[in-house]
């Protein structure tokens, strides 16, 4: 007996189209839709098949609730294998498949399999050890794709580890992701070996790939400086004393904005820095040294520029993932552009 649990969106589970995208997580005993094909293929394993359906919008708008509901179902059903998709090139569905499979694999350590097209944004959310079968970009590739699920499940159920890895190499997406593995020799041995190779002109290979920093051209001002509205933005973690909105002091997950309307400078004791990446003592003494409000007001008075924006924006950059910071940066930039801000002084630590 083997228990298979299959995650599908509202459309593939036959609940409905876009109008049902708000569908909450629901448990369906038995196989539905494409699951029936897989259920048949696993007949000789005496498979018990069940389905989780969830609307694409619901998953993204209520991710925490959706994952909690899926958690409960996984606990109750106790599957041996977890499936999601195939998502082809459906972005929201692909993201949900990736997140659900990663979550199940991390927490339950059972095989998790999904399938999608290489351009699906879900490929950015695939956790370690999740199988992602490569598909075409539309459901026209469904039959071929289901055959591959079945073959992989077969290999996993019969414990053919090497065969499963061969399958991964041949049919799964090669998403470039780095995870910890055992090299067999400690760093202090490998480093001296590499140095001797380097000194003796022998070949060696650096273990950490280098990426060129992405260059972002600074746009030209579209108005004269005298006509420009300027804003202050920082990743230095400056918040009102007591940190009322609980900005994280490391790995910021959000950005905040605070009004500086009518404020000439930041008084000591009214603001403080939440940041584990630098010594915040000097900023706590004089918060203007991380967000230079006093200097900007001075320049505003002598009309070097037109106006200082009424809010400053803040996050904490230390320890954060670059992709998260890129998201936050986009959010800040959108707000500033929407408010007619022409230029930004961005202070980093």
């Amino acid at each position: 007996m083997v228990k298979v649990l299959h995650y599908m969106n509202q459309f593939f589970a036959g609940i409905g189209g876009e109008e049902k995208a708000g569908q909450e997580v629901v448990f369906i005993p038995g196989a539905v839709g494409a699951g029936r094909v897989l259920d048949d293929a696993l007949e000789h394993h005496n498979a018990e098949y069940a389905t989780i359906a969830c609307g694409d919008n619901y998953f993204h708008e209520e991710e925490t609730k959706a994952l909690a509901a899926i958690h409960d179902i996984v606990d109750k059903f106790n599957p041996d294998v977890f499936l999601a998709g195939p998502a082809f090139n459906a972005g929201r569905y692909g993201l949900a498949c990736a997140k659900v499979c990663s979550w199940v694999r991390d927490n339950r350590r059972i095989p998790a399999i999904t399938a999608m097209h290489e351009d699906n944004p879900g490929t950015r959310e695939i956790g370690r050890n999740v199988f992602v079968i490569q598909t075409g970009d539309s459901a026209a590739a469904m039959q071929e794709c289901l055959k591959r699920y079945a073959r992989l499940i077969e290999k996993l159920l019969t414990g053919e580890q090497a065969a499963a890895e061969n399958f991964r190499a041949e049919y799964c997406l090669a998403i470039p992701r780095r995870f910890t593995a055992r090299s067999g020799r400690p760093d202090y041995v490998r480093s001296v070996d590499m140095l001797l190779a380097k000194l003796n002109g022998k070949p060696y290979e650096s273990e950490i790939p280098r990426f060129e920093t992405e260059q972002h051209a600074i746009p030209n001002l579209t108005v004269s400086l005298a006509e420009a509205t300027l804003a202050l933005v920082t990743e230095g973690g400056l918040v009102p004393k007591g940190n009322p909105d609980r900005l994280e002091s490391t790995r910021g997950s959000k950005y905040l904005k605070y009004s500086i309307l009518g404020r000439e400078d930041f008084k000591r004791g009214e603001f403080e820095a939440m940041h584990t990446g630098y010594d915040t003592a000097t900023v706590d003494q004089d918060p203007d040294r991380i967000v230079p409000l006093d200097a900007m007001r001075g320049l505003e008075k002598v009309q070097r520029f037109k106006k200082l924006h009424d809010y400053y924006f803040v996050t904490t950059g230390t320890g954060a993932m670059p992709s998260k910071m890129a998201d936050l940066g986009e959010g800040i930039a959108d707000e500033l552009a929407g408010a007619g801000v022409n230029a930004v002084i961005l202070t980093a630590t």
Binding site: I126, P186, D187, M194, A273, G277
Partner: protein, 427 residues
């Protein structure tokens, strides 16, 4: 300069009515130990526990581990500048118990008055299971002192007290009466070798910033010093002591005292290379200009020592990486071929850029693995040092329950992952 180490190892540890090392069996008389440190423990309650390698025990709120060392016949103090006056060390004889640690756990009395950077980070030490390969000291025996300060103790006083207590205990244990067993003897020296062998230095960059995130050399904060030459033997005598509670990335005092990089280079000295010694440097300088100069001064010292090559590692993360990379760059610019060792932070899903700073000169890197990858961490049978794990400012977690977290929850994990042979690879 020559230091002889008398290295004892134990196979058993137990409480008893007398303190002695009989063969490979250590017994400790608790009242004698308490008497040794009584003057240091004002308004601090201490609970004592023992842990052995392989036991199903999880030690939480770990702040430091110290190797029991002591000088023989009073030839200067071990841990100079702390457990005795600052006298030059690295000569004579040093006695130690090589696989025992004095382990200090506890929480600061007034966390609310610490700035974020001064605030200690949680560190758990798993003696077995998946965590063992991520935790410094999982392969050692432990005498654990869990410190609970009362509110009259200031943060500054607690920081000093925990260090003094640990170092004093370490001396006490190294000096126990010994019967029925001879130590392994080894000499730490840099004897002249074949001049044709490549001349190599070890670049040893520590974190030294503020209270709670600093490192000491002869009791002095490294942040107040320039990059300096240190003879390997000085490390074995406790010249470098940790006051860093950035727990996952810290180099514990016990690792300064018995560093596998130093041991490795000593082993190859005269064989395949000519080990010139260690350059002790500091990361976390406040400005880029300072970071750059720190790199220049390390390279200057390496050049003046005649180094042709360097192995470099660092204590810390992002901020310190910039000082580190400036050092690598400056060395390479001086023609000193440099291999640099770092952890990667590829994110839980593995696709983030591995390093925050990676100049093209750093073309020979050794990886210690992805420190931001999630690991499923099952519970162990016993928890020592408290009941709740602090998940890095985010939430409290019952230490008896399983959880999913990255290696930053483990004590000394960045060094230990390297020592366990971990590296990051593409899946």
């Amino acid at each position: 300069m020559e230091l002889e180490i008398l290295d004892y190892r134990i196979e058993q540890i137990a409480w008893s009515d007398r303190t002695c090392l009989n063969g490979k069996s250590l017994t400790i008389h608790l009242p004698s130990l308490q008497e040794q440190i009584m003057d240091l423990c004002h308004a601090i309650r201490i609970d004592y526990e023992i842990a052995r390698p392989g036991e199903s025990k999880r030690i939480i709120h770990v702040l430091d581990t110290v190797l029991p060392i002591a000088k023989v016949n009073g030839a200067g103090p071990a841990f100079p500048g702390f457990d005795g006056p600052a006298e030059l060390v690295g000569t004579g004889q040093t006695i130690r118990i090589g696989n025992l640690l004095v382990t200090i756990t506890g929480r600061f009395p007034h966390p609310e008055s610490l700035t974020p950077i001064e605030t200690p980070r949680e560190g758990i030490l798993d003696m077995t299971g998946i965590g063992a390969d991520y935790c410094h000291g999982s392969d050692h025996f432990h005498l654990i002192l869990s410190l609970t300060p009362d509110p009259t103790v200031s943060n500054v006083a607690f920081d000093q007290a925990l260090r003094s207590i640990a170092l004093r205990c370490a001396r006490f244990l190294a000096q126990v009466e010994k019967t029925g067993g001879a130590p392994e003897r080894r000499t730490i020296t840099l004897a002249p070798v074949n001049n044709k062998l490549p001349k190599v230095v070890l670049i040893y960059q520590v974190q030294s910033q503020v209270i709670g995130a600093r490192t000491f050399y002869y009791g002095e904060e490294v942040s107040k010093t320039l990059p300096t030459f240190v003879h390997p033997a000085e490390f074995f005598d406790g010249a470098v002591v940790s006051g860093n509670y950035k727990i996952e990335r810290k180099i514990p005092t016990s690792l300064h005292c018995s560093n596998p990089y130093i041991l490795q280079l000593l082993e190859r000295h005269g064989q395949s290379l000519n080990f010139l010694g260690v350059i002790l440097s500091r990361g976390y300088n406040d400005s880029f200009e300072q970071k750059k100069k720190m790199g220049l001064w390390v390279a200057r010292l390496a050049r003046n020592l005649g180094a042709e090559g360097a192995v470099a590692f660092m204590e810390g993360t992002g901020n310190g990486t910039v000082d580190f990379m400036q050092t690598v760059k400056a060395c390479e610019d001086q023609g000193i071929k440099t291999v640099a060792v770092l952890h990667e932070s590829n994110g839980p899903k593995g696709y983030e850029r591995p390093l925050v700073d990676h100049p093209k000169e750093a073309d020979s890197m050794i990886s210690r693995g992805n420190v931001s990858e999630r690991i499923y961490i099952p519970p162990l049978a016993a928890v020592i040092g408290g009941t709740e794990i602090d998940l890095h400012f985010k939430a409290k977690h019952d230490a008896r329950l399983p959880f999913l977290f990255d290696p930053t929850i483990f004590y000394g994990s960045y060094s230990k992952m390297g020592g366990s042979g971990f590296r990051a690879v593409y899946e």
